[in-house]
């Protein structure tokens, strides 16, 4: 039995709509116009104990709504959720004792209390026995390097420091399952790495199940073996990162740097498409089943004054962008050039 089973989840929000201008405002007083937003439109998946799952999608796709339903905050319109044998919104109090939640954009610490006092309050709220609390607190303080922050009030912490404290706060009661909603949002590179490394250790060493929503594709590439993509309230793709790539495109990218001063306007090849050019750097997309990598490299090197070149997989952003594009044009594969242009714009 998987740890989490979600079946056919539907959640709609009703949002009051007001026509613009004075007249619209007056009309709104008499008659409210409601707009229905289907945040989740039949979402199903299951997750086994110990998985680290990335859950990605654009703003408004339904990521956070899913996490909020799974953590007992929102009640769905229909569908079923079983997590560790419980339905979150029905057995909320018993259920939330066994999960940890971090919303990157919010803090669960008390704004005007020193960090350590927030921890102590959480101990009382979760009724963690004193010895267990001490052990888990000290371990988290060591892992997240919080020693110097404990006597600081939360409002004086930097975003990166606060996020480390929030992670500790979500884990003091030793949950079996951790929901992370954009834990790296707004963090600098060093803090991001620290957070990522910590998440990885939790998952690997403690076998904790982690569900991670993020906009940061580096988070996904660094951490997640399994990726679920959501768009318009539906799961568009669910599998390993490699499967996700393969299902969308076999394409690889070849980046070519020409020597300085070479009198070349563009690098072209019959079996590859130019998708980007920055000065003397050209990026070509090609299908390795149509032309092998050595052949393509040999041909390019023969025809152009090459200074350097390398082959890579398209970045995960490009893959995701293509999944959305496919969905919009209802399955029809968009031309490489059109897709490449959309990727360029998104960068």
């Amino acid at each position: 039995m998987p740890q989490i089973v979600v079946e056919d989840l539907v959640k709609t929000f009703h949002i009051a709509r007001r026509a613009p201008g004075l007249w619209g405002g007056l009309k709104g007083l008499l008659k409210r116009d409601w707009r229905e937003i289907r945040a989740l439109d039949g979402v199903s998946f299951s997750i086994a104990q110990g998985e680290l799952v990335g859950y990605i999608g654009p703003n408004g796709a339904g990521k956070s709504t899913t996490v909020k339903v799974l953590s007992g905050i929102l009640v769905p319109d229909s569908g079923s959720v079983m997590v560790m044998g419980r339905t979150p919104w029905i057995d909320r109090i018993d259920y939330v004792r066994r999960i940890g939640v971090v919303f990157g954009q919010r803090t669960q610490l008390w704004w005007d209390l020193p960090v350590i006092e927030s921890f102590d309050l959480l101990r009382d709220i979760y009724r963690v026995p004193q010895d267990r609390y001490r052990a888990s607190r000290d371990e988290l303080i060591a892992m997240l390097d919080l020693g110097a922050l404990l006597d600081t009030t939360v409002r004086q912490l930097s975003l990166g420091q606060r996020m480390r404290c929030d992670l500790a706060a979500a884990l003091l009661h030793e949950p079996e399952l951790l929901f992370l909603d954009e834990p790296t949002i707004g963090l600098d590179a060093v803090s991001k790495l620290a957070v990522r490394e910590f998440i990885e250790r939790l998952n690997k060493q403690r076998g904790m199940t982690v569900i991670l929503t993020t906009h940061d594709m580096d988070d996904i590439e660094a951490l997640c073996r399994r990726v679920m993509v959501i768009g318009d309230g539906r799961i568009l793709s669910d599998g390993t990162l490699a499967d996700l790539r393969a299902s969308v495109t076999r394409e690889r990218w070849l980046t070519v740097d020409l020597v300085d001063g070479a009198p070349v306007a563009a690098v072209t090849d019959p079996d590859a498409a130019l998708i980007r050019q920055e000065g003397k750097r050209f990026c070509l997309a090609f299908d390795p089943q149509r032309i092998s990598v050595p052949d393509l490299i040999a041909r390019i090197a023969r025809n152009y004054p090459v200074h350097d070149l390398f082959v890579e997989n398209p970045p995960i952003e490009a893959i995701i962008a293509r999944i959305y594009a496919q969905r919009r044009s209802s399955g029809a594969l968009t031309a490489v050039r059109g897709f490449a242009a959309s990727v360029d714009k998104s960068q």
Binding site: L74, V75, F103, Q108, E117, D124, Y126, D181
Partner: protein, 263 residues
Amino acid sequence: MKAYLAILSSRFLALLQYRAAAIAGVGTQLFFGLVRVMIFDGFYRSSSGPQPMTYDQVVTYIWLGQAMLALTLLAVDNDVAVMIRTGNVAYEMTRPVDLYAFWFARALSGRAAPLVMRAIPIFIIAGLFLGLQPPVSLRAGLMFIVSAFGGLLMASSLVALTTISLLWTISGEGLNRLALPLIFFFSGIGIPLPFFPDWSQPLVAALPFRGLIDTPFRIYLGHLSGQAATAAVLSQLAWIMALVIIGRVTLARGLRKLVVQGG
């Protein structure tokens, strides 16, 4: 229980830090108490008809009101208001606590802290210099304490209810705008309730607000005693339970329709 006591004591201790506000409050309450005593002084001098309370009783009623003003100033819990507005209420729901009890505990600490900080100095000053009489009997004194605690619970249940109403209104102060004038009139803090005209007394008795301060004060004065006092305390208790039940039902409904703002 420990979770609720923890939040209660932590809030209570945090609020005790606001000493400057308390000192300013004591000064203000003493000033307005004197003004109101002078008004009633003029009223008793110029009127020859029979009054529902003696002059000394009125003065004591006024000073008790000034000492325990915190029970009638029912501000919404600002922390919860901010949580609801910003969506941080989401975290509140991931805690393994009964949310009503949790918010009630916060409301209770929010009322108890200013009550304790202001009541004690005003009791002492008004008792020594300004005509506040001791309770009529030991029994009345003890029953006053019970009933004043009931007033504190009622105030907290009203604060909890106005706070919960924010789940619908989000901005503004929720029910508070509506509740404050009602409380000013019908609790007895504006004019002691015995002075209300006879025709309005059934209405005054039917509303919960007399349970905030009027019931304990009249027990203290001996204006309510014996069976009448017991009945008043029971009615206070019934209202507290009713307000708690209304609060719980409202909160459950509010959470079902909750839309977490942003993100």
